[in-house]
Symmetry: C2
Subunit: 376 residues, 2 copies
């Protein structure tokens, strides 16, 4: 039985990602392919690296989109920086912190977790205390915890970690492009994000950056990483080593269309300007909070450390979570369900990339108000 | 400095892949995104799995595109099937066999290599001999060795491997969709391919299939695989377990646009019919060989086991490899350079997917003839 041509519905994507790509980004995904060693593509790779450095706020040469989703980028960080027997301190303020700890453990590390209750964040003193007890190889935090809507403050932590001789790793999957990450200013040694949230490309790439201290750990490893696909030293034979000859050796076939789309997404981010983009995300968040107030809805996350791009909204007593989300989807709007312990108790509304606008917020509040009016 | 909009040149892609996607496939890459848990996307996932089974020639439930390139799919096979200390026999008839061996070693296995000279293949008796000596956990072969143009015969090997109690793994990155792989008929327990060669989608996905014997090895492991991103048991909480409830749990954000494109590519493969598609690839190869003859060019690979979709052509004495490929590219045609020991000594011409046609072959022969006429 022959299949019909693919004809996806049009959705306003207000879940935890993907967000809706700009038309220029979608067009690039369908642009004519060239080979992964074509001189034109090598130039696109260089442009992508340069713009990604700008977005991360770093001068790190080793800044590329990994050929997998955000999770692959984070796994690449753990596989390359950790060796069996190394110790890692991981901040766990929700599901994505637990995932970081799991990635580190699978890379062979012994993990000490610093936990905070759902919605809360970790104070620098708690990290200092653990560093004093025994310095680890690395300390990793989730900047934007997508399961709770909390923004982990980074200020001052990089210095503490560096002083202890450890590497500072940040999961900025949800924050990059929507709020400042500032890799160099925050003394972050390695960071990983994704393509499909605030940067506004389709999912499929895991942008990462590795600073000189991280690369020193990579090049002085006692053993090869267990992964060949995500082995940084092999990858940079293709992406080009800093300073050295720009001779590119095949490692794996780069996802050309995804990198086209990502290059366009980065171009639009830089064209808008980072500060303007952060302000737009912040303004959309504030308008959303105001609108939710008119509907009598409350946010789960304490106001002191709410993420702008990912809003966790408490489901009022007596309202059917699944029914509301289904009705919203019938109206062409995706919102996310609660995650883990918040499943059934909260919705997650993303205002990311092209969707961080007053028009989108107003449409969401209007439609959600109508759906809730008949649901209660 | 703001970047210009991406405007890639149009190339006829006759290297070792990517090939040129059909217009329907490119259109799908730019189609409206839905969320990775959207009911519409869950249906696309099911369709993709079903069509991929048809193309692999298998009834295996566990048949999905991994969220990475073909290499990621092969790494997933090794990470999931092998545990530290396991033994693997790997056939090495070129670079991609060496890569398989490296993936197995990084997964912790002790590897016995069975090698053949470049251009040659491995006789079943040599595998039987190694199996007799000491049965391993798995035996892996490269079906289509892209570095030498050789097709490794598979007939009869699956039975030998099964009789020895081992798993039979096949790298069909270059062959799938261009010549028969027939997973079930060949008693293959796990196979991995790519999206961008004979299947005709952009690069970025690693289609894999795991049969019941392979899944038994996965579910009875003593330890978790080192990879979390490519952990099959976690992945199938999202792709849906066979028979069980089709409740989908988030694992990582699927590359929605790539899966759209891949679903369309598979649809076109099945619409054409597998046998017709193989015949088309075979006919294009024969026409190419004939055309090369008129130019006085010879193939490197012995005629008895030449791949149809990847042709390794000896560069005549006195012809400048790089200059010819550059001039071909200026005429809008990519052909591949030789790989490893064949670098500078051979070209690799892929006739894959949409490019396995008489028109493409004739254009290639015409242009190559003109370039060579001025190069000698």
């Amino acid at each position: 039985m022959a299949r019909n041509v693919l004809t996806p519905p049009t959705r306003l994507l207000l879940g935890p990602g993907p967000s809706n790509p700009a038309p220029e980004v979608s067009a690039a995904m369908a642009a004519p392919l060239v080979g992964h060693l074509d001189p034109y593509f090598l130039q696109v790779m260089d442009e992508t690296m340069a713009d990604l450095r700008t977005v991360f706020g770093t001068a790190n040469h080793h800044t590329i989109p990994m050929s997998g989703t955000g999770t692959a980028g984070l796994e690449a960080i753990m596989f390359n920086l950790l060796e069996p027997g190394d110790e890692a301190i991981i901040g766990v303020i929700g599901y994505f912190g637990q995932r970081l700890a799991e990635l580190a453990e699978r890379a062979g590390a012994r993990v000490r977790r610093i936990e905070a209750p759902l919605g809360e964040v970790i104070a620098p003193e708690r990290i200092a205390e653990q560093l004093d007890r025994r310095p680890p190889k690395l300390v990793a935090l989730v900047h934007a915890e997508t399961s709770t809507g909390a923004e982990q403050p980074l200020a001052g932590i990089g210095a503490l970690v560096r002083e202890a001789g450890a590497l500072f790793v940040v999961d900025c999957v949800t924050s990059l492009g929507g709020t400042a990450v500032d890799v160099d200013r925050q003394l972050i040694d390695a960071a990983g994000s994704c393509s499909q949230k605030c940067l506004g490309a389709p999912p499929g790439l895991g942008p990462v950056t590795f600073g000189p201290r991280a690369m020193a750990a990579v090049t002085t490893r006692r053993s090869k990483p267990a992964t060949w696909y995500l082995d940084l030293q092999l990858l940079f034979q293709y992406w080009g080593d800093a300073g050295g000859p720009r001779d590119r050796a095949f490692h794996h076939t780069a996802p050309v269309a995804n990198i086209y789309g990502f290059r366009e997404a980065l171009r639009l981010v830089i064209e808008e300007g980072l500060e303007a983009r952060y302000a737009r995300h912040r303004a959309a968040h504030e308008r959303l909070v105001e609108g939710l107030g008119t509907l009598g809805l409350l946010l789960f996350t304490p106001e002191t450390h709410r993420l702008p791009m990912l809003n966790v909204i408490l489901i009022p007593e007596g309202v059917d979570d699944v029914a509301v989300r289904r009705q919203m989807l019938e109206r062409g709007i995706e919102i996310g369900g609660g995650f883990g312990p918040l499943k059934g108790k909260a919705w997650r509304v993303g205002l990311m990339g092209t969707n961080a606008t007053p028009e989108v917020v107003d449409r969401l509040i209007g439609e959600l108000g109508e759906v809730l009016a008949v649901s209660r």
